[in-house]
């Protein structure tokens, strides 16, 4: 019972924003009403251009969740294999060829990447996903490579090599699995960071339309009215926080259960 409850808090924190994101748009009337900015109409008042905040909350989860999830998954799909190849290879040049270009990317501040690419590429969710993923790939690869190297230097791995295990089994089977904890700890954070990059893009006025229905954008745009209508900022901010905290709690929990099974 206690276990259920514990899992439940993290689960609940994830479930509410996810549910709103997925199902929310279904409950929004087609004809949106418009009133004065930061007024009292509707359950949560109105936003900076007089739209019903509650409707925006219902509409705004989809892009947030979509962009953050897709971008994070994408950066892991690209970054982790590169890191594994680089860490496990015995040929130095392979390591160099894989990691050096990423170092170049790493050396351009993410802010600059964001400003430049967002100004050049067409606006849209896909662009944002790609930019956020691109900004994250070098980081993911470096962290994963560091973790993999540490594991690869363990005696157990030496033993597997001596036993003639295939590269695939050592790399993916052992190293990959052992890296999981570090990666998952990083992943929870990275998901949040992705959300937040979207908010920064909005703050900088690049990549997302300033009136987009998106929780991160709402937090940014409605803060001028923080003292007139705090709900317009707090509602989306709390949802984002719930999602991030929930995801991290759930991952921790899952790891712990799994860790116990392993030991």
């Amino acid at each position: 019972m206690k276990a259920v409850l514990r899992y439940g808090i993290g689960g609940l924190l994830v479930a509410v924003p996810l549910l709103l994101a997925v199902a929310g748009p279904l409950f929004v009337p087609d004809a949106l009403t418009r009133g004065a900015a930061f007024g009292d109409t509707g359950p949560l008042g109105t936003d900076f251009i007089g739209r019903d905040v509650w409707h925006q909350v219902l509409l705004g989860g989809r892009t947030v969740v979509l962009v953050a999830m897709l971008a994070t998954v994408l950066s892991y799909l690209v970054g982790v294999p590169i890191a594994l190849l680089a860490a496990m290879t015995r040929r130095r040049w392979v390591d160099e060829v894989l990691m050096r270009p990423l170092d170049v990317l790493l050396a351009v501040p993410s802010l600059l990447v964001l400003i430049l690419l967002a100004s050049i590429a067409p606006r849209g969710v896909l662009t944002l996903v790609l930019i956020v993923a691109l900004v994250n790939v070098p980081d993911v690869a470096r962290i994963a490579r560091a973790a993999a190297l540490e594991i690869a230097s363990r005696p157990a791995l030496e033993a597997m090599r001596l036993q003639g295990e295939t590269w695939w089994r050592t790399a993916v089977g052992y190293v990959g699995r052992s890296m999981l904890r570090t990666l998952v700890a990083d992943l929870g954070i990275r998901l949040t960071a992705a959300l937040y990059l979207v908010a920064s893009a909005s703050f900088l006025g690049v990549g997302v339309p300033p009136d987009a229905s998106d929780w991160a954008v709402m937090v940014d745009r409605n803060q001028t009215g923080l003292f007139l209508a705090p709900e317009a900022v707090m509602a989306p901010a709390l949802l984002i926080i719930a999602l991030s905290v929930g995801v991290n709690l759930v991952f921790d929990r899952a790891l712990r259960d799994r860790g116990r099974a392993w030991l």
Partner: protein
């Protein structure tokens, strides 16, 4: 390979890396719509005047020619002059570097001990109350966009309670003259990295504690405390060092939002202004500066990681 050799090789690679970044950024900026003349003309886009500005700025010469010239100057340590104001780019960089270095330095100075401590403490009992409180708080803080955190802190401590100055307006970049202005920006800057680094340390500590060598050490009769701090900790911090390097990099690369909200004229502000004005030489100068700091910071990080866990870096 000795550490010295390693460092030297990395430095050489670093030079190549900086050149690659400069070229990449140049290409990207050149691909931006409009040029400095259009940006300067702003809401008075008289085509004839734009053309004159273009000529006055030397923008009528081919892109590659200007790039080559700039690159040639760079090899002599000359960053060129801003095409918009005609001031030397080196002046811009020096102006912005001071507050940026100060903020980054102070942030790291507090960040490292605090986040390592939190990571180690919450790893002691995975899933314990301390772990969960630290996790929840850290992740929660991490999830608040920094401008929101900044605005709330300013409203509360700067305006409502009036304990701290709400902005650094009027310090002219000399932040140490009035250290109180640094408090709120530092809190905002710390909020996010504390989370990411303490989480990494925590995860790696748990891993290290469960690893073969830790078990082996315990079998040898070493105290749990000794195993934890003398053996597990250095190994656990190694991956976090990468993240600290990234954080340093982020801090040096211009924390635009914090600079904007608190009115701190650092590198981030200069960068955003330069991009909006299409001031190529300034953007280029910044890109080189950022690339150099990234190379150095990562080099230091790798050397530190090498010291902490020698086998982990080859």
């Amino acid at each position: 390979m000795t550490l010295g050799h390693y460092a030297l090789r990395r430095l050489l690679l670093g030079v190549v890396q900086v050149a690659a970044v400069a070229t990449l950024v140049y290409l990207l900026v050149a691909a931006l719509p409009g040029d400095a003349a259009v940006a300067l003309a702003g809401d008075n886009p008289d085509p004839e005047r734009i053309e004159q500005i273009r000529v006055a700025m030397g923008l009528d010469r081919p892109v590659w020619e200007r790039f080559a010239e700039w690159l040639w100057g760079l090899t002599h340590g000359d960053f060129g002059v801003s095409i918009v104001s005609g001031r030397p780019v080196a002046d811009f960089l020096a102006d912005g570097l001071e507050p940026t270095l100060l903020l980054a330095g102070l942030t790291m100075l507090m960040l490292v001990p605090v986040s390592v401590l939190l990571g180690v403490a919450s790893a002691r009992r995975e899933g314990g109350w301390l772990d969960r409180v630290v996790t929840t708080t850290a992740v929660g803080l991490h999830a608040i966009p920094e401008f929101t955190l900044a605005i709330v802190l300013i409203a509360l401590f700067g305006v409502q309670l009036a304990w701290l100055p709400p902005t650094a307006v009027g310090t002219d970049g000399d932040l140490l003259a009035e250290p109180a202005v640094l408090v709120l920006p530092l809190i905002v800057l710390l909020a996010r990295p504390i989370c990411s680094i303490s989480r990494l340390v925590r995860a790696a500590m748990i891993d290290a504690a469960a690893s073969d060598y830790a078990r082996h050490a315990r079998r040898l009769g070493l105290s749990a405390r000794r195993v934890r701090y003398a053996h597990a900790l250095p190994n656990a911090v190694a991956p976090a060092v990468q993240q600290m390097a990234r954080t340093t990099d982020w801090l040096l690369g211009g924390v635009v939002v914090v600079e904007a909200v608190f009115v701190i004229p650092g590198l981030g502000t200069i960068l955003v202004d330069a991009v909006a004005g299409r001031d190529l030489p300034v953007i280029q100068g910044l890109a080189v500066l950022f690339a150099v700091t990234t190379v150095l910071v990562n080099l230091v990080a790798d050397v530190v990681a090498f010291r902490l866990a020698p086998r982990a870096v080859t």
